[in-house]
Each structure stands twice: as C-alpha cells, then as structure tokens.
C-alpha cells in the first residue's frame, strides 16, 4: 500500500521532469542569446538526469520496471505529468515564466523531502536541492530583468503569468487516497501544503518584478495529468522523444 503510493508520487515527479527536460531541450540551437541557449540545454540535462534518478529508485527500491523502459515505453495514459509541462514552448516569455513557476515548485517539493521517511528520496533530495538552486537563480533573475525592460516586455511577462497560473496550480493536483497514506507515513507533507509554500516562494519575486499574481480564487487549476488525462500536446511529444529508443528497445548504447 505504502510502496504503491510512493511509486505513484515518484512517477508524477519523474514524468514532470522528463517532459519538462524534453521541452527545455527544444531551445537547444534556438535560444535568443547564446547564454540562454546554454542555460536551457543545461537545465534539460539536469531535469532528465533527475527523472532518471527517480525512475531508478522505482526500479531498485520499489520493484518497478527497468528505468529506460518505464520512461519511454508506457502508453500515454500511464504518464502522470501535469499539463503545465506538456505545452509547447511558444515564445520565450511563456517558456521563461513556466520555468520560473515550475522550478520554484520543484524547489519546495525537494526541500520538503529532505526529512522524508523514505530514505532513497531523502538522499536524492539533498543532491537535487543544490542543483536546483541554479535553476531558480536563473529563473528569478530573468523574470525580474524582463519585467523591468520596458512596456512591451513587462506586458508580455504579465500576460504569460496570467496564461500560465492555472496550469502551474495544476502541479499540485490532490493525490486522493495515496496522498493521505504518504502524509501519514511522513514521506512528504502533501500537495496542499506544498501549494501554500510555493505561493510564499513565488510571491516576493513577483512583487520585485512588479507583476500581479492573478486572484487565485478566480482560476481553475488544470487537473487531470496526474490520473493520465493529458492535453493533445503530450502524445506527439512522446512519439518524438521515444522515436530512436523504440526502434530497438533492447539495443545497447
């Protein structure tokens, strides 16, 4: 029962990072300036590395399938990523705002797991926390800079925030029965608590950037991803991402 709940939680986290990593990698060669091209490419590598570490825990500690097979060979409705990470990159405004909201959420999630009763997760969190610092540092700096870079730039950042906030709130989709099992077993503090810590974390940065957080009671969080109901953007992404791997899943690289 507890192991199933942990597998469910780790799958959500790993799938988020795998898909976000893939989207980040789509900026390789296309970034608006060289440093940003490198930043998104590096973050892609980090994200995919973190997802791999989580898939390995599922494989080694929880009796799951082999990590690569699990990552690339599931049907679409068995992926548990949130809708936020599935959306195409669109413009740099959208991509950057998503990066900010997503990485701040990851930071509070991993920090909450530093005390997890599930030891492999506790160990991984220590490692990931330090690396994520660079992601949030990057995101904060750009959100603040672009929001102060003139009227058009400010408008675009505010518009991006307005468009993405409901998707971002969907990261914290309630995990039903499993979630209570995890809270009781002190694996992590639960989605509701993380949502409130996340708001505390993003708010000061948005204030510094003079951006207005849309009233949260007026938004409908984009739920569904955690139970396998996805946007139309996920299926083509999975097809592209697994294209080479699926040519021969037994090939030795």
């Amino acid at each position: 029962m507890l192991n199933n709940a942990i597998t469910d939680l780790l799958t959500k986290m790993a799938d988020d990072e795998l898909i976000m990593g893939h989207r980040n990698s789509e900026w390789t060669g296309l970034g608006p300036v060289m440093e940003e091209d490198i930043a998104f490419s590096s973050m892609a590598q980090d994200k995919i590395g973190h997802s791999w570490a989580l898939y390995r825990i599922i494989e080694e500690n929880l009796g799951g399938s082999q990590a690569d097979i699990f990552a690339f060979c599931r049907p679409e409705n068995e992926y548990k990523c949130c809708h936020l990470v599935e959306y195409p990159n669109a413009g740099y405004d959208f991509s950057l705002m998503r990066h900010f909201l997503f990485d701040q959420a990851e930071a509070v999630r991993y920090e909450s797991m530093l005390e997890s009763s599930f030891e492999p997760l506790q160990q991984l969190s220590r490692k990931v926390k330090g690396e994520l610092k660079y992601h949030t540092l990057h995101a904060n700096a750009w959100v603040m800079q672009l929001s102060k870079a003139g009227e058009e730039s400010y408008d675009r950042m505010q518009t991006a925030l307005n468009e993405i906030i409901a998707l971002a709130a969907g990261i914290f989709e309630p995990g039903k029965a499993n979630e209570q099992v995890l809270i009781d077993a002190k694996v992590y503090p639960g989605e509701k608590e993380l949502y409130s810590r996340w708001l505390d974390r993003i708010y000061p940065v948005l204030v510094k950037a003079s951006l207005n957080l849309p009233p949260l009671e007026s938004i409908t969080p984009a739920y569904g991803g955690r139970t396998g109901q996805h946007t139309p953007y996920l299926a083509p992404l999975l097809k592209e991402m697994g294209e080479v791997f699926n040519l021969d899943t037994a090939a030795n690289w």
Binding site: E35, E36, I38, A39, S41, S42, M43, Q45, D46, K47, I48, G49, H50, W52, A53, P120, Q123, L124, R126, K127, V128, K129, G130, E131, K133, Y134, L137, H138
Partner: protein, 163 residues
Amino acid sequence: MTMEITIENIYNSLQQVMDPEIPVLSVVELGMITDVVLQDNGAEVHMIPTFAACPAVSYIQRNIRQQLEKDLHISVTVIVDKHITWNSNRITEEAKIKLEQFGIAAPKRLAEEVSEDLFVEVPCPHCGSTETYLRAPFGSTLCRAIHFCKSCGQIFEQFKPLE
C-alpha cells in the same frame, strides 16, 4: 614488478584517473572517491558524481577499473555511493590551483548555502582582476558558469560552487 595491493597504492593509482571534462584533475582531487575497501581478490571503490546528471559517470567507472587493473592487476568493483552527496568544498586546495592554471576559476569555499554573493567578483583566471560579473549560471558543462572580466575583456568559466 607488481605493486603491493594497499589502500595507499590504490589511491596513488586513482590519482592517474582524470576527469574527462577537466583533464588536469583526478577523481581523487575532485573529491569523487568516498571509500576504498580491500577484498580477497581485489577492491571496491566507492565514488560519487559531481552532478546527478553527469553523463561521464559510467565512463569514469570504466577508467577506474582499467587503471587499477593495469597498475595493480586486481579486479575492481566501482560503486556509486548514495549516502554521500558531492559538494564543491570536496575539491582539494591543490586542485583549485591546477584548475585556475587550466583557465577555470575555482569555486569559493562554501560556509553556508549557495547565494548570489558567490558569483560576485570571482577572480579572473587570466589576469587575476576581480572586476568581473556573472554572465550566466550555466556553461559548457553542468559544473561550470560563465563570467566576464571587465579588466581584460575576456569571457571565462568558473567551476560552480555546489552545496
């Protein structure tokens, strides 16, 4: 002549295994080795990657095995240690000097968590000036950041401080 199989000789041999991305530093100098255990017919080497997504881990594991087989004729198991996480204070002081000579600024010593302050006035490895600023917290490999030196007008890389 075959060298005696001792922990010390194993470490001496590991000093010859270089990091593939910074070929002037060995895995020992980078603080990647966490333990060496002698066994009946060989040894077990415990190591940690600098960054979780380091693509060179299996390559380094292979290099460690080959080096020890060559020097000491023993079979070696290389284990990734999950109990210890790498941080930039593990780089030895001697290694930091080599890093600077290689053209990469060394990470400042961490007393607490990583903050923006650690990226201010990083001495330029080319001219030594501290009139520098951070261009990007990411670089050509996961462990590097990009800085610019206002004195000599050059871009340089820094090995990132990591908690």
